[in-house]
Every structure is written in structure tokens, then in C-alpha cells.
Point group: D2
Chain length 335, copies 4
């Protein structure tokens, strides 16, 4: 059977600290729907990590967490600006439009998944007319789909002109652990006044859980109803909170992301194909023609060709140096 | 702090068989989004339990599982018939309308959460006009919100006239484990030709997971896209499947539901207040005035007053005979 | 063929002043989508009538005008309070849920279509929880579905407690012309601070047009996009505006409504059946058993049995005294 | 004030035959909501024109007619293929996503608004996965946004491979009158088995009305409820039907479109700027730099720059040879 180790960062299970915490917080009776002490403790830890007095809720999937928070920032006749290769724009089967009742996505270009400031400027300059969905929010992804980072200054350079036009800022942090492990300050979103951040648990190594961080607490009004209406108010809320306690109390959230990043660097160092994007987090993208990809898959390693045409290798908390070296050997054999 | 033991069947954690299975299936790499061998094995077990060749998918919440399957059976300008006290009608913060883009609910009366056949007949006789949302599906709940059972004959008596009018049948089985433990044949839905059944995992004692059973396999077309669009295609799908393996391979799914039912019977036997509904599954509803409920809460036991005005006590896999006896003593002290 | 004269107030064509205005404003070229001088002039006339500095837009149907303005006041996980027999609640095939992506309706009782203040008080006192759609707006209808009026004081008595709980006020004025002709001051909604009012054109005697009056002008932001998104930004906007000029410049809007009201009074005076509601506007509701209704229909007059079980006779600008007398004779013949 | 004569084909009023018919069918009482003899007669005339036994309904705007019919062909987690410059894709403020609860648009390239068959083939070859919205329908526009025609053979070449993949066919005929006047056989859509066609009234010279032609009559089930739910079941339905009687009984629908086409040809013949697209219907698109457009507007003529960068001049039933000559003179003066 094919080996999926590098196909994505969601092909791994959960890190030991998560499994331990799930078992630890399993006992006893608690109120349902997120009103329990375990959820409160996880929220405290997240507020501590981000150094912000946010309201914190949990959702069971990144698709839902991103789509429903976008819907909280833009009305159905409005749009959200996002990178045209962002997960929001390309890989959610239209979920933002579903949660947002037809809300639009304005996809902008930019190298390695970072929105080009000039493209943003042009989009913001477009007159506000009845015949198109004008933007109400700007969604940024850090680390990007291509495994590179926005610096805080780069985020500022995008958020500032957007805010001047009345847009709210949304941060998709599905791989924020990898960004933080690579040097991004987790307190930056709070300083930048990002209204909503989705903090990734699943890809960091949890069982299914994402944290919705409402840095603008006024958005928290009736948010429980918003979650329930959208099928995301999980009754046994403890199981979405416990993983965060396991990951944050121990520091494993960022420590294991640092490992994933190191595995990507190791793979990049041994890579016989040209890198398509800088390797700053846990992803390695390379230029590889179809014949080479077929040969690679014939060696048993399954990986995907991505939207931009390059081939993607993802590392995670579970990636081992041995598997990197095995893969590198296979790559050399078919290069 | 208040004791929530009897407040609901979702105030408990997960049964040991579930925690064990989550840990057991945690290792190794698998494809994402439900395309893995763990999901396939769980689906096989569910098909075996139900003795039907259904397509089986998983969702992270009962709200979502019920609302999105209802939306698969009725168009936005149509409605679903359900009991007027059903979870679908009263306790989902409008989720069916959200997932179904305004789909309507026609709430019918009937004792103890079972739809009255005469009320159904009247609803089905209403002419099909443009000025109201005519029904496209009939949703039934077994065990009902009030902890009583439909027999297979009673289900037949409702589904047959509905089908004659072109309606599809939907079965909310959030507490199907309790129904099965009480004697309901899990093969009945397949025999009855129910198009979609939601088989409850969470309330049975799992970490968050519900099984969507598409007995009408034609409804499975593009169902993965439907799930993803609605934020319910969990990337690490194994964590929604493993609990089912743990519960079904061991027989714990129904065995522990039998325990929950027995605890409800024990409580009913010791109950100093009049029963509001027959006790057939894991719920005990009693007539209790507000002053008595306040006194009960003052003893430390938190329970809810339900829609019909009675007070509800729920038992689960985690309920102990000792806690039932403690509660019964408290009840006697305030009766 | 059956005579529909009294079946509704939309079975009539348009009054001569409307047909004249449509023809008059037909010539020449104008910008599209409501940005023309004809729309501006109609909006001025409406602001004058209501004595309020509102933003005024037009829609092609009352269903759409009401449903999309409700959606502008309540989010999908919230609800709107309305009379349980209101058009919004009972006669829109779920349109509010469609335009509002699942927005809920909380239907309250009250005699003759006027919400009972005690019922409102109880609804407002319900705690704001995640498990139901809490109200964000109060929708009132004047004249009501049963042809009676709210006085300004009665509206105040409902809007004041609702506003104290943060709800916005919405006024369905499909039959406002009849209310004004019966003595209701058209300046009252502005004084009361109703956020949005739908001012009825069609039932008053126009070709299809309703005016959306945004008394809270902040709701006007991107309202053109909201209309277009919902299929209600008519390209040849002049044809939704011209009827208003025809009706308001001449005073026919209220004068012909006064005629309709007088016809209802004439019918009530000659009515051999007991009145079910006070006759204050253009409707007459009577108690009539099914056999009598069948006999009436056999005489050629088609009218509807309404939600409350009574039989409804509607008068309009086009109703003649002769037809009232003919109908009255038929009624006497079958009484 | 600027002259809008050529800004669009909706800046004109209604043709005399329409105004006459509106007045003619204004008298008397009729059932509401499209159940009247006037609607039946208009539907008969449309079926005669198209030589097909379709169900015919009416809507008040093209945006609504197209968006709600697309929603009848594709589910929310699916998409519709359309030309990337089609009205559906670019000029509806996201209405398809609103009516279709997030339904996607797959925008394909092709010269002059006609979908490139190779691009369609590539789109149809894309595997059907859960992670994107796979197509359920193909929407074609004739005449296209750029005023050129698909021949019946060209439509066949697109519909045949789409149908082989299970897609339904949708035809946006907002300017079908111009296409027919240019030689397109109105019986072609029926022969081709197009499931739904929207037949344009407004741009042809009517007051607001579009005909929804359900060539696949099975789609007509509960279509009245679908219209009402979406705010498009106009109570005084006669006013959406009468214009069609006026236009079709007299032949003015196509005769006046032939005039519009002739005016476009006259303008093209006198045009000092290079044509950007062939002139086959009522539109003239030219290459004109921004400075020239500014100069033209300074002469008082207001026209739009279109999505493809060219400048658009639209003719209609109301365009006069004199105004064409005046405009041509102005164009020569600034060329």
C-alpha cells in the first residue's frame, strides 16, 4: 500500500500529549456545549499564548472554523479578499459561500501564497457599486499554503490599507504552530488588531479541533448560537478543549511544530529537484514533471501535485528523520 | 459545584472502549477525509449492525448530521415533518433552516414524542400549494426525546402513508443504542426503507461522532462534497471512525446503553414524583413544580425542565447505581 | 367562471393614476438600477408622506421586500418576532428563512393579528441561550392581516420593551394605505424610530412595486448590492417608481384606500354572518361554516377561508358598490 | 445631463406594444400569483414561439430568473459552468451563490463570450472529488455578453459532451430576441433538450419581466413554491404576462430586436474605432483608450468600459437612426 507520510500534515494521528490529555479529561461529568471548566482552561491557555483578552471557542474542522468566521465578518452581498490559492478560495468546496449564504471571495495573486500589496491596493481602489460584491474583510494565512511566512511587518502592510477602507482582518492560522516555531510572534495578531483568528489544532497534531479566537470580543455576542446553528457547537465540548491543554501546557504545540519544520529543512537539504518555494515551515514544494511524479509514486510514496503545478511534501509532528531519508533516497532514484 | 450527572447524556465522557480505540488507531499514517481503512472498517461494522448495504459517513455533531441529511431530502422551498418537540424542531437553533437554506419544519403533536398518526394524516392531506412549504420528508426519532420507543409497526404506520405521498423517511437515531438495548431491532430501518438514518455515537458514549447511514445509496452521490461544503468532512477521519470500532467490536454500544436504561429504570422505581412519560430507555421525566425543582437544585443536583413542562433526568453509560441512589435520596428529601 | 373580486386585494389591476404614470414616465433614456430621476422623485414623495429623512428603495414583491429587510435586521442564528398569523410567519413559503439563511420566526398570539403585549413580554424575558434563535427584531403589521389597526400608542407599547432588549423594529405596511385612510398617521413610524418599513404599493392599487423605507439610514450601506444579490435590483427601475408618483402626487394612494375601506364597511353593514374581527380597514372576516362557504362559492363568488377559520372578503380600490351589493345579496341568499 | 441612450439596453422604457398590453389587461379581477388567464395566454404564446411543450413562469428580474433556475439545476455543493465573462459569473453580485446557497461558478474562457470547447472538455475531465464543487450544469448565453451568436451547431458541440457527463443545460436568453432577429432559430433550445431557458423580456423592450421556460417539465414540480420562497411569485401576475402578449402577438419582440440589431450595424459601419468583437446582434464593442473615453464622455455620451477592456455601445428597440448618427459624429470628433 502507498505511503501517505508526506501527502499532508493531516495524515498523521495525534501527538502523545493530546492522547494523554483526552484520556485525562475524560472522567467525570461536566456541563455540555463548551460551558465546562476544561474548555475554560484551554481558552485561558490560548489567551496566554496569544497575549490577548479574546473570546475563544472551538470547532471540529478548519473548513467550518474559517467559513463561519468569514461569515461573521462579511454579509452575503459582500466579499472577502484572500489569496487566490488560499485554502479558503480553492480547497473548501465552496464552504465560505455556504456558511455565508453566497458571500464572495476575491482571489488575489502574490508569490508563495502571500498577497501582493499592489494587487490588494488595486482591489481596494475598485469603486463600491451594487453590481459586485465589495470586500468587507481581508483573510490572510500564516504560514501560507506554500509554507512560507508573513512577517509582522508584511501583515501590517496589508492590514493597514484594508482597515483604512473599513475591512476587518481574518487570520487563517491552520499552520500557526509552524509559523511560531519558525519565529513568528504569536502575540502579533493581537497587536495587529486582527478581528478573528483561527488557530490550528489538527495540523499541529491534535485530534480534530480548531480554536476560534475572537480578538474583537464584540463579535462574541450570540456566538454560541452561531456555532450551534452551523452544527459546530459540540455537546461534549471537553474533547475539543483537552487537546489544547495537552499541547499548550507542555509546550508541545510549538516544539513539535519545530520538529516538523526541521524535517522539512532536512528534506529540502537532500532534495534533488529544484525548490518551487522557500522552505520556512513544514512544507517542501518542488518542480517535478509528470513522468517523475509517476515514477515517485511507483516507489510507493504518495504525494500531491498542487494548484501552482509544483509537487508538495508535507512534514508533521509524526515525521521521522528515517522516513525523510528513505523518501530522499527514493527521490534521488527517480530524479 | 453542581452535579450534572443527570442533566443530559452528553455530560459524561467517553466509555473506556472508545478511549482505547482512539489510542489504538492513532498510530501510523492514513489518507485523510474519510478515505482510510479505519473509516472503512467502522462502516462495515455499522452495515453489519444494521444488516443493510448502506453508504456510511461520519459527522462531528448530531446537529450537523441531522440538519445536513434533512437538507439532502428536502429542497429549500419544501419542509420536513417532525414531532413538534423533536430535537430537529426545537433544539437546533434553526440548524435545519441553515443547512437547508430556509427549509421548513412542520411540527406535529403526539404523546411522548411519537407523532400522532391522525396528525400526520391531516398534514399529508393538506393540498400542495405555492404558498406554503409542502413536506418532502418525514423525520422520526427513536428513542424519542421523551425516552419512549416507536415499535417497528408504529414506524411502518407513519412511513407508509408518508411514502404514498412521495415523502422520504429520515430517522434521527441519536439514542438508537438505547432503543436497541430496549428491544428495537437495528435491522428495522433497513427493512422499512428509511432513506437516511443518523446513528448516534456521542450520546451512546463516544467522543464526538455520529454516523450518517445512507440506506438509499443513490443519495451518496457527491456526499463527500456535501460534507465538506458544510464543514463536516473531517480531515483526520480516523478519529470519527475509531470510536465506532471500539463500541461495535466489543458490543459495548448496546451493552452500555442497556446499563443506561437499567439506571433509568432504577431511578424510576425510586422516584417520589409522578412519571410524565413511560420509562423505556435512558430518560426519566417527572411532574415537578418549580418550588420542588429549586429545592432539588439546592441539594446540588442540576437538571433541566423540558419543553413539555416536565423535569428530565438522563442516564448514560457512566451513570452509577450509587449516584442514582444518592439522587433518589435527594428527591425524597425535597418531595 | 368564478368571480374573484373579493378574494384578495391583489386580484384587481392597477388604478388609473398608476397606468397613467407608467405611460408618462416611459419615454426617454435613464440610467438603470434605480439611479434615475424618476426613482429619486418617487423617493422624495415617500419621504414627504412619512415626514422622515429615510433612504427609499423599491422591490418587485412584498414577499421579497419583507424577507430581505428582515434579513437585514437579524442574523441567521437569530429570529424575528412576529404575530403567528402574520404574512411573514404563515404566507411566504418560508421566504424569511431563505433570504435570512435560516433566520427564525417567533410567532406570538394576539387578537385580530395584533401581538399581545403580555406574550411579547414573555418572549423577551426568555434567556438568551445558544440553543435557540433569540430575537433580534420585532416585526409588526399595520393594518394587520385581519384588517384591524394598531394605534400609535399600541405600537409604542410593543416597540418600547423590544427596543429595551436591543431588538430593532420592522413594520410590514403592505396595507399601510388602508391604515392611513382609517386614521393612522403616516408620520408615526418615523416618530417611533421604526428601523425599516415596507410601504405597500401593490395592494394599494399599483402595478408590482413595494417601497423599502430605511428610516435608519445606516442600514442603507451597500443596500443596492443587497438588493441585486437577492434578485431585487430591477434594471428598469423607473417602472417600480412611476406608480408611486402616480399614487402620491394625486393623493390617490390614500384616497382610493379610503374607498376600499368604505366598501368593506358597506359590506359589513349588509353582512348576514357574524363578524369575526372589527372592520377598520378593507377586510371583512366572518364566521361561516363549510356548508355555507360551499353554497356561496356555488353562487359564483370565490373567497378564502383564512388561518383562524373565518372567511375573508377583501375590498380594493377597484371594488364597486354594485359588486358589494351583489355579493351581499348572494350572502343573504345562502345564509 | 449625460445621455445614456447607448449605455445599456435597459436604459430605454418599454415599447408601445407593451404599454398598450399592460393597459389592455389591466381591467377586471383575476386570480393572483400567476393562476390567471393572462399568464396562461402569455405562456401559450411562448410555447408557440419556441415550439416546445414547456412549463412557463415569470420573474421580475433577470438576475433572479437566472440565479433561481441555476439553483434548480445544481445543489449547493456543486457548481455551474459558465463563460467567465457571463452575466451569471460577473455581474450578479453573487446572486447565484445566494439563490443556490453557495453554489459555485466555474468560469471558462472563450472568444467573444462563447465558451471554448477545449476549455469545456478540460473542465469536464477534472475528476469528481470532495474538495471542489464539481459541475452539475452548463449555462450558455445567447446572444453572448459581447453581442455575438452561438449557432445551433456550436451549442450542440458544448451541450453534448456536458450531457455525457450528466450535466444539465441552462440557457440565459436575456437577449434571445436579438439572437432570433439575427437568425437563431427559437425552436433550437427545445430541439437541443436544454432543460431551462430564461427568455428575456426586459432587454427586448418590456416592463420588468423575464420568462422562465422549463423545457424539462419535471422541473416544474413545486416551482410556484420555489418562486414564492425566492420572492418571485408576483401576486398581480398579469403584469408580468401582459407584456409578452403585447410583444408576441404583434411580432414586435423580434421585429424591434431586428431594429436594434440594425442600429448596431449602422453604428458599426460609422465607427472610427476598431471593433473588438463581431457585430451580430445589438452591441458594438470597440478598442478605445481611456483618454478617448474621457473625451467621448465630455461630449455628453455616457457608455461603459466592459470587463474585457473594450468600450460597449448597446442599441435597443428605442434607439433611433438620428441618435446613432449623432453618436457617430461625436465619436469621429474625438477619435
Amino acid at each position: 500500500m502507498a505511503r501517505y507520510d508526506f501527502a499532508s500534515d493531516n495524515v498523521a494521528g495525534a501527538m502523545p500529549e493530546v492522547i494523554e490529555a483526552v484520556a485525562r479529561f475524560n472522567s467525570g461529568f461536566t456541563p455540555g456545549y463548551g460551558a465546562d471548566a476544561i474548555c475554560a482552561r484551554a481558552a485561558d491557555l490560548i489567551r496566554g499564548l496569544l497575549d490577548t483578552d479574546a473570546e475563544v471557542r472551538f470547532a471540529a474542522s478548519g473548513t467550518a472554523a474559517n467559513a463561519l468566521t468569514v461569515a461573521a465578518l462579511a454579509q452575503p452581498h459582500e466579499a472577502v479578499i484572500a489569496h487566490r490559492h488560499s485554502h479558503l478560495a480553492t480547497d473548501e468546496t465552496g464552504a465560505p459561500g455556504f456558511f455565508g449564504s453566497g458571500v464572495g471571495i476575491i482571489g488575489l495573486p502574490g508569490a508563495s501564497g502571500r498577497i501582493d500589496p499592489a494587487a490588494l491596493e488595486a482591489a481596494l481602489a475598485k469603486p463600491d457599486e451594487a453590481h459586485w460584491q465589495a470586500p468587507a474583510a481581508l483573510s490572510l494565512t500564516n504560514a501560507t499554503e506554500y509554507g512560507v511566512l508573513y512577517s509582522e511587518a508584511e501583515l501590517t502592510a496589508l492590514i493597514t490599507p484594508a482597515r483604512a477602507k473599513g475591512l476587518k482582518a481574518h487570520l487563517d492560522g491552520a499552520r500557526m504552530a509552524n509559523a511560531v516555531a519558525a519565529g513568528f510572534d504569536p502575540r502579533a495578531p493581537g497587536r495587529l488588531g486582527v478581528e478573528i483568528m483561527v488557530l490550528g489544532g489538527t495540523k499541529a497534531g491534535a485530534t480534530p479541533t480548531e480554536a476560534i479566537v475572537l480578538i474583537d470580543k464584540s463579535l462574541g455576542r450570540r456566538f454560541g448560537a452561531r456555532l450551534k446553528h452551523a452544527g459546530q457547537l459540540i455537546s461534549k465540548g471537553r474533547f475539543l478543549a483537552a487537546p489544547w491543554i495537552g499541547m499548550l501546557e507542555t509546550g508541545a504545540w510549538s516544539a513539535r511544530a519545530a520538529h516538523a519544520n526541521a524535517m522539512a529543512a532536512r528534506l529540502a537539504g537532500a532534495m534533488p529537484f529544484a525548490l518551487a518555494h522557500a522552505v520556512q515551515a513544514n512544507a517542501v514544494f518542488v518542480d517535478m514533471d509528470e513522468a517523475a511524479l509517476v515514477r515517485l509514486r511507483e516507489t510507493g510514496w504518495f504525494v500531491y501535485r498542487f494548484i501552482d503545478g509544483s509537487v508538495r511534501f508535507m512534514c508533521s509532528w509524526a515525521t521521522t528523520a528515517e522516513s525523510v531519508d528513505e523518501l530522499a533516497a527514493a527521490l534521488r532514484s527517480i530524479a
